[in-house]
Symmetry: none
Subunit: 407 residues, 2 copies
């Protein structure tokens, strides 16, 4: 059976922590199921971009899924809007955005408009604005989030965010990041749309209502992460594997959609610590028992705990993943388990430290002498040290599907 | 504390030697302090240029300091003259040189003019010679050594040495190494300067005096290692770390100066087997306790013993380094210990064998199971196998200073 599941635990890798007896959260956690898988499989360590290089979540996943970021990555916006189900066309420039609140001087007073929960009715009237040959498409995301696409000829993603990323300062004008006509034009058009959007939002009766209720008005579109869309070879075409993506977080659904996978809606998959991990694994098993050949399963909260520096929370969440991983012990397909990057609790942010990786599949992998799934144990494993771009070729090879080079 | 010390033991790596019970000098040496550091740190092996590739001391250090030699290396001359404190300008062609002795037929009788100890009074009258728009700058180095710069438009470093590298043969004419106007012009200008220099040196009263004393006259400038100077991004700008270089040998001071580090004068640091290793380590500790963020510390004699094939001398010198390394055991910064290349005593020259590498920093590195610092033990370490260009990104990552790639 030429089928595989790729489980990515976001930000899993860590550094030794004194309070954990100089173990990492993964090393200190009780993980009998992951350890059983390590014992049955072959282990290694992986840097998504390269040794010592610190990846974002978008770039690391693209690399792990086999897409060279030099070729395919231009910014996070395209991936985010793909995750909202927006169809991208070659030449589009896309943004992730928030609806936020500004005062009469355009100073941001709330970047999330009081964590407004449904931007749909506001975004509706922004969708389809037109100016100088460019159409703005807008669609609601979860909570305060919005996806924005500029569509038309002559656009560039080399423009800055209008989102100042903090409150108490005036919204920025989007500025060209290079000396080119396209960048200047794109910044000009976006700034026009943002002014127009502010006028429309300010006068939206729903905002008049919000103000009466004492809530901050959702009166400004804050855009960031401009990305230029070039057609990308879909995962299925590239590998011959019909693929699905199972994730709670918007970016990870977006990565699935961006690479042409079917993005599953799994009840209870939230991208938060309360996510239903077992439900995700069951959905993947079901898909692979059916017509799917590849399931990309993403779990987010390991990263969130790392960014909070909460190593006990990270450890406990890893134990929850392990409990659910009992479902995977007898899975009749190739299983690859790894992370996109490390998020050491001591740093509270991504790092370039490698992450553990294991591949399990009876008769498919050679196995090694490693019997625990951890950062240091896997560094001694049979897979050695890989980069993200080497993961998919190895999976394809173990599945017996790799193309002959030569004769 | 975002600070690091990089200790490079030149030519440290070796091959198993029968007389040492098939151990390498490093393996056979008693090194309790280096072994303690290995136990506390994470180990690996490193090839400065690439697996099996045999680096010079200049190229290997450039790579380890993060400068791609394809982009930054054009010849040793520029690095050597930087080490003499000569200021380079874009377009300069620089040489390392000796004052040597030739007979009336220009046959070299002594490449070092009787190991003359002060070339200053001789070099003085060569400094500032001018011909066809090109100025020759000359400055004394240690002993018989001289630094030479040609400055002016239209120069190339693709010319051969006039130094024949042996006695009993006539000095060579510098020849263009490619069919270009610039190379031909540079060779022509250099040959003119060398003839003029010979005339001036021959008639220098100090040489008349030397001949009276029965000493060989310092009557010829032997130049080699032409290098073309292109501006190089300074280390501090590249990494955000204020750096100092602590070395005895001229090349290594030159590498510090070339990459924009502050080059320290440390009393007792000679670049020879008698060097005061502890004084170097103390100077590095002092710098890092002060305003410096990075200390590059170089120890030379391991390489010298290797080139002499003196494995017992190499072993004893390694034990002297280890004794001084006691000073580093409780250093409150990241410590990286490695070599630039191997100089196996059996070969008496550089080889492409990897060198051991370890990085130590409580809470910064993951550690591994390696408890001795040696070529074979480190090959099993958690860092795996690196190239020189991966060393600085890994240091920057461990310091938590690496740039995010993506979002």
């Amino acid at each position: 059976m030429h089928k595989a599941m790729l489980l990515v635990m976001d930000g899993l890798g860590d550094r030794p922590i004194k309070d954990l007896g100089w173990l990492t959260p993964l090393e200190a956690a009780r993980t009998p199921n992951l350890d059983t898988l390590a014992t049955r499989g072959v282990c290694g360590v992986m840097n998504a971009i390269g040794l010592g290089l610190r990846p974002g979540s978008d770039t690391s996943h693209l690399a792990i899924l086999g897409y060279d970021i030099d070729q395919y990555y231009t910014g996070r916006g395209t991936i985010e809007v793909a995750g909202l189900g927006m169809e991208l066309e070659e030449g589009d420039v896309a943004f992730r955005g928030n609806l936020g609140t500004v005062d009469e001087n355009l100073v941001v007073t709330d970047r999330r408009a009081g964590r407004i929960s449904d931007t749909g009715p506001f975004v509706q009237e922004l969708n389809g604005l037109h100016y100088q040959g460019i159409t703005m498409l807008a669609q609601p995301g979860t909570g305060h989030r919005v996806g924005v696409i500029l569509r038309g000829p002559g656009l560039s993603s080399l423009i800055s965010d209008n989102d100042p990323h903090e409150v108490g300062v005036k919204v920025h004008a989007a500025l060209p990041l290079e000396d080119s006509k396209k960048a200047a034009f794109t910044a000009h058009v976006l700034n026009h749309f943002l002014t127009e959007a502010h006028r429309l939002l300010k006068n939206n009766p729903l905002n008049v209502e919000r103000l009466k209720q004492g809530k901050p008005a959702a009166n400004y579109l804050l855009a960031r992460g401009a990305g230029y869309y070039k057609k990308i070879e879909p995962f299925e075409k590239r590998y011959g594997l019909r693929a699905c993506a199972i994730a709670g977080g918007g970016l990870y659904k977006g990565l699935g959609a961006f690479t042409g996978m079917d993005v599953f809606k799994v009840s209870g998959a939230t991208g938060l610590p309360d996510t239903d991990i077992a439900a995700k694994f069951k959905a993947a098993l079901h898909a692979l028992q059916g017509t799917y050949d590849f399931a990309f399963v993403h779990v987010k909260a390991t990263d969130t705990y790392g960014e909070d520096g909460d190593y006990r929370g990270k450890l406990a969440f890893i134990e929850r993943i392990d409990a659910a991983a009992g479902l995977l012990l007898d899975a009749p397909f190739l299983l690859a388990v790894t992370a996109d990057h490390s998020t050491p609790c001591a740093l509270k942010r991504h790092s370039g430290d490698p992450v553990p990786l294991m591949m399990i599949g009876e008769g498919l992998v050679r196995t090694d002498h490693i019997t625990t799934f951890g950062e240091r144990s896997c560094a001694r494993g049979g897979l050695g040290r890989l980069t993200g771009l080497q993961v998919m070729p190895e999976i394809i090879n173990l599945l017996g599907l790799s193309r002959l080079i030569g004769d």
